[in-house]
Symmetry: C2
Subunit: 174 residues, 2 copies
């Protein structure tokens, strides 16, 4: 069982960041490796979705349950049907208000690689290879995902500021 | 100029974590590489201290100014006299309350390596070597420092719980 935490500072108010994360159907646009998201079930404080994602060049899919704690602005996720190499994958997106209009975003992962059968995971990899592949993917994806959320939340702030800005004076429109 | 962020979840209330971090004189006991701390100046919301620290097997020292924001539970640090390889080093310790009695601790680093003279930093290292040394030290020290603060804050919680516990029944003391 492994536990990792990764974080980033975002120049956007916490509600913007949380809204980007809560929109699971938007993940196909948000995260380049995510090919498709199908919402299977939704309640006032949870979502169950099937994700199709490119991981290390391979198309994989899994079903995830996400519990949304809007008060603490935490989304807990748990794969119900895991990705191929995994016995277990869960964790949290956590948003914290930083001074002013900034947000500290954290993502955590708790995971375990599938048990080897006759010394091999999925009949192909030694446990060490499987572990290295999963850990590498978690490291790369954490950095990429945090960066994607940061860019999208900061883009939202800028687009709203632009919309609020007075129209350009006529002279500069010529 | 580089920016890094590292984080950890601590099973202790935020005030415990902040108190551990605010006690700069306690760093010599808290962080094994820290050999000595001399408080040079102290005000209601800042400290200036000289630290002697073992970095990658070498004893180095620097002077740091720490600005303590007790409301947001953030300590901003800035090296006034930098460690040998550095042109600049600063960052923040940030504490955030997590659900219940947990704390999300974040440390950030903003740093730049000293400019090379005649192609060498300190007359010994190429800029790439110097950068790799500093980045490696920041990675290793971030993980070690977060872990040390986590252990100390969690130890404080346990020791207070133990002090609150009723004395053992006489029969079990025999």
């Amino acid at each position: 069982m492994f536990h990792t935490e990764h974080c980033v500072t975002i120049d956007a108010p916490i509600q913007y960041v949380y809204d980007v994360l809560a929109d699971v159907e938007g993940y196909a646009k948000l995260f380049p490796p995510t090919q498709a998201v199908t919402l299977l079930e939704v309640g006032p404080d949870y979502q169950i979705a099937k994700l199709v994602v490119e991981v290390s060049g391979q198309i994989q899919s899994w079903t995830t349950r996400r519990d949304l704690d809007v008060v603490h602005r935490i989304i807990r996720y748990q794969q119900l049907q895991t990705a191929p190499l995994l016995d277990h994958m869960g964790g949290e997106w956590r948003c914290f208000q930083l001074r002013g209009e900034q947000t500290q975003l954290v993502i955590t992962h708790d995971f375990a690689v599938r048990t080897a059968v006759n010394g091999l995971v999925l009949g192909q990899y030694t446990p060490e290879q499987a572990e290295e592949m999963v850990r590498g993917a978690v490291e790369r994806n954490s950095a990429a995902d945090l960066d994607a959320v940061k860019k999208e939340a900061e883009r939202c702030v800028l687009s709203i500021k632009d919309a609020d800005a007075p129209p350009l004076p006529l002279s500069s429109q010529i």
